[in-house]
Symmetry: C2
Subunit: 333 residues, 2 copies
């Protein structure tokens, strides 16, 4: 790891090229090499060529399985045997549960008791051991500390971890292997694991490619942090893109502040329209968070015309009984 001092004097560890190459080799036996899809109708709408790297087809339905697998598989045996732990109710919880099950070790997942039945069921189906907590950050952290002490498990943070960042970088590495001469790669941004990994992947293997993030207007802390030059925590975020509610971490921010070209926001109505457009025209299921980059392009957040653009489709886990355009329709009717 290179050691660089960030704006607050903290030491930030930025994964080097070799860490990402090692991550790719380490996780390759365990993850799907996801396809890159295109859609002439969407290209026509944008006057651009868009290449969708479909991590919605990844195991557990999200790119998160890459980072979780890299973290779990890189633990030495004597640390791994007591298991791993995290607090999360989303894709990281499912990803860590399956990654641990594949290695044959326990995964302890701290989840708020009000998490949806489908999220509890997903973690359970992948073998995660759930400990419930109150739905506050304080309760999550205290409960996780207790679980760590009782189990001896290793904590794996959802994004503020070099092993996670290196694992998430592998999606963009594969995209660059499959598609030459990309002008821009877009990702959504929540905690910044996918964004920072993608930025490093571009820097190391396709330095002419700019990396730009798209973020919901209702959770624009990453954009504000990027422009302020320090982390501004997310307070009361409100967006349909429920995978993007968290704040940046110091490790992801250290990468993002240096290697990302811009962060551009878009509103929820456009996110829902982009999500529906992909379902309708591409016949693939993507979650709202994954639709944010395309929404930003539809909204002309950047000038895409004539460019070759990669988009990392972050995941496809959505409640099929409650689709956002139906809620939205009800709102306006």
């Amino acid at each position: 790891m290179t050691h660089q001092e960030d704006f607050h004097g903290h030491i930030a560890y930025i994964p080097e090229r070799k860490h990402i190459v090692e991550a790719l080799q380490r996780i390759r036996p365990f993850v799907h090499r996801t396809p890159v899809l295109t859609c002439s109708a969407i290209d026509g709408m944008l006057d651009a060529r868009v290449f969708f790297k479909c991590e919605n087809f990844q195991k557990v339905g999200a790119f998160k399985y890459r980072g979780a697998t890299n973290a779990v598989q890189s633990l030495p045996d004597h640390l791994a045997e007591l298991g791993v732990a995290t607090h999360s109710s989303g894709n990281h919880a499912a990803a860590l549960s399956l990654a641990a099950a594949v290695r044959g070790i326990p995964a302890h997942i701290v989840m708020p008791e009000n998490a949806s039945a489908s999220k509890k069921a997903a973690v359970h189906s992948y073998g995660g051991r759930i400990t419930y907590c109150a739905p506050t950050l304080q309760s999550r952290e205290e409960t996780l500390a207790h679980v760590l002490q009782a189990s001896g498990a290793i904590a794996i943070h959802p994004y503020n971890d070099e092993r996670i960042i290196s694992g998430q970088a592998t999606a963009a590495i594969e995209l660059f292997e499959d598609v030459a001469d990309l002008d821009i790669v877009l990702t959504p941004v929540g905690g910044g694991g996918l964004l920072s990994g993608t930025a490093l992947a571009a820097r190391y293997v396709s330095p002419r490619t700019s990396v730009i993030a798209a973020e919901p207007e209702g959770a624009d802390d990453a954009k504000r942090s990027f422009h302020a030059g320090h982390i501004i925590p997310s307070v009361s975020p409100n967006t349909i893109a429920d995978g993007l509610l968290t704040s940046l971490g110091e490790k992801t921010f250290a990468v993002i502040s240096r290697f990302v070209s811009d962060i551009v926001t878009v509103d929820d109505a456009t996110i829902i329209r982009a999500m529906r457009l992909v379902w309708q025209r591409m016949k693939i299921i993507i979650e709202a968070s994954a639709a944010v980059p395309l929404a930003m392009l539809l909204d002309k957040g950047i000038d895409a015309s004539g460019l070759r653009i990669g988009i990392i489709i972050s995941g496809g886990n959505t409640d099929l009984d409650k689709l956002p355009w139906m809620e939205h329709r009800m709102d306006i009717e």
Copy 2:
């Protein structure tokens, strides 16, 4: 074409191997070579290896574009120039519209005036010229006859046409190229274009593979025709699989009665469950009609255990505002 007398003394023309090979060469520049996907969760549920040939990713979202393209592209210029025509409100209408647009000729589509707005919009978006008729078979046929006389266009039947059958056969040809040693290939059956094409493809390039059709219980005319040895028309069919309402034609029946191993029915509740399972686990959008073969397997309509099974996913066009499991939930609540 080989000429064979069918059970009623009609002459049935069965496409030969060379017609299918020519169809594949003819349409290749115009159609997507669709991917074959697998799903370990579904394999586990069935104790089988299932290979999904994803024609939901085909242009216009359905295999129908293959047959329509083969028919349109095989017309000599002097016949093509006045255009093509059909009566259909479904995927064939959209497919013929786009196939004609690609060749630069008009497509006249006769549709019942009560067709859904989304179906009208689809045909319109591909450049089809719509003539409305009353929602009866008699009105459809009379209106089409009038359109043909007024325009000089060539009628292209949705399935009872050798060019259509040969075009639909190309999906299975590609599947056999990509996946070796299939024990069974499954398709849904409505008018029988996809089923008869698939049966011929298997006979010509993978004769050890059995071809079996899956059909909704509420539209079981193909099963009854198959067992009776003559076409029994579909009367008042009622199923969520709205692409499978039509009766077999004499040309499709001539192939199906000779080269298909069996036709097995399944109920709508299981079709909806299979459709939702594919959306949930594979993250791809398939229409209800496309879910019928998987539903039949889930229902143990045949013994699949230990087998390698291909399924042609026929299409992905569905109303995203009105999903069948939501209607179904309302029914039982």
